[in-house]
């Protein structure tokens, strides 16, 4: 069994994790085009090389980031998202029409 190192829980079987897609900067949802938003939500760059991507440890519902080489499938580093995300992102709520 392949082992992944969870920043919160330590080394665990890869079957305890799910993949959450590539880490990409989020475009401003209120001003970006549909194409840009679709690119962010659905499309993958499919880079051959080292990429940073989201993973979740299912048993603890803990999301973190991993650097992985997509050619060798080697996981180089896993780390807490707080290294990148310091602030909670709030989304503007559209008011309901009466």
């Amino acid at each position: 069994m392949k082992i992944m190192n969870c920043p919160l829980n330590g080394p665990r079987n890869i079957s305890e994790f799910i993949h959450g897609g590539e880490l990409k900067p989020m475009p401003n949802p209120t001003t970006c085009s549909d194409r840009e938003w679709a690119d962010y939500v659905f499309y993958s760059d499919n880079t051959a090389g080292v990429i940073t991507e989201w993973w979740m440890h299912v048993a603890s519902s803990y999301w973190f980031l991993a650097e992985r080489h997509t050619v060798t499938d080697e996981i180089l580093r896993t780390f807490d998202p707080q290294e990148i995300f310091q602030e909670r992102i709030e989304f503007a709520v559209e008011e309901k029409r009466s």
């Binding site: 919160l8 829980n9 665990r12 048993a59 603890s60």
Partner: protein, 243 residues
């Protein structure tokens, strides 16, 4: 002792129907924290030594449990005089016998005490629910755990041997000391495992999804067979958790 009919108006643990199906003729049901629990041996007849060396499985789901998460969670708990574990995946026994487990940097799980049948936790949960409704719980989210998770206790010196058959994480006493927490896969389903051993009794708490409780119960009993493990009544375990 109440009859089965009396229990119909009381709350049921996720294992209620399983217990009922396994012992259709059982007439004795007890009440604990508003829950109907299967009556075991008379409390007074169970010597503490009959629990300790064997391998036992107990349903503790009748006791209170709740979670709290968020930036202010630690402050809110401290205000209620809970002692908090220093690091994630650690648990700390409180003076009153309840247990606080830290599941991540800002998430806590509170498990009720035998001493007061979990009343302190239930009371605090009600207070937090009221505060949340009044928007007086900023930067903290109450996580209801009473109905989402079943709470099982695996006791006795073979507890870690039983888990070794079901779980990839090393839960032997050397690697997994009292106060350690592991959130991992057990028998291919998710579980939070807490080493809640006391001086005289090895004890692993398992918190599993309430919907998978009836899956875990027979699996654990099956894994316990080679160690002559058996199902224990909650009252038998109570002896080992003095206030």
């Amino acid at each position: 002792m109440a009859t089965l009919e009396d229990t119909l108006t009381t709350k049921r643990t996720p294992l209620y129907h399983l217990h009922q199906a396994n012992q259709p003729n059982a007439t004795g049901w007890q009440h604990l924290g508003g829950y109907a629990i299967k009556a075991g041996q008379d409390e007074t007849q169970v010597e503490p030594t009959t629990v300790a060396p064997a391998c036992g499985l107990t349903d503790l789901s009748a006791l209170a449990r709740v979670g709290l998460r968020g930036k202010k969670a630690a402050t809110i708990l401290s205000e209620k005089h809970y002692q908090l574990p220093a690091a994630p995946n650690q648990a700390l026994r409180q003076e009153d016998g309840s247990l606080v487990a830290k599941l991540s940097a800002s998430e806590y799980l509170l498990l009720g005490s035998f001493a007061d049948d979990g009343e302190r936790i239930s009371r605090d949960e009600l207070a937090w629910q009221a505060a949340e409704r009044a928007h007086r719980l900023p930067d903290a989210y109450l996580l209801p755990r009473q109905d989402t998770h079943a709470w099982l206790a695996l006791t006795g010196s073979h507890a870690s041997d039983v888990m070794a058959k079901l779980c990839g994480v090393d839960l032997s006493p050397k690697a997994f000391a009292p106060g350690h927490v592991a959130q991992t896969s057990v028998a291919r389903a998710n579980a939070i495992i807490i080493n809640a051993s006391q001086a005289d009794l090895s004890c692993l708490y398992l918190l599993v999804d309430s919907a998978s409780a009836c899956y875990f119960w027979p699996i654990l009993l099956d894994a316990m067979q080679e160690f002559e493990g058996k199902e224990l009544n909650i009252m038998a375990l109570r002896h080992h958790h003095p206030a």
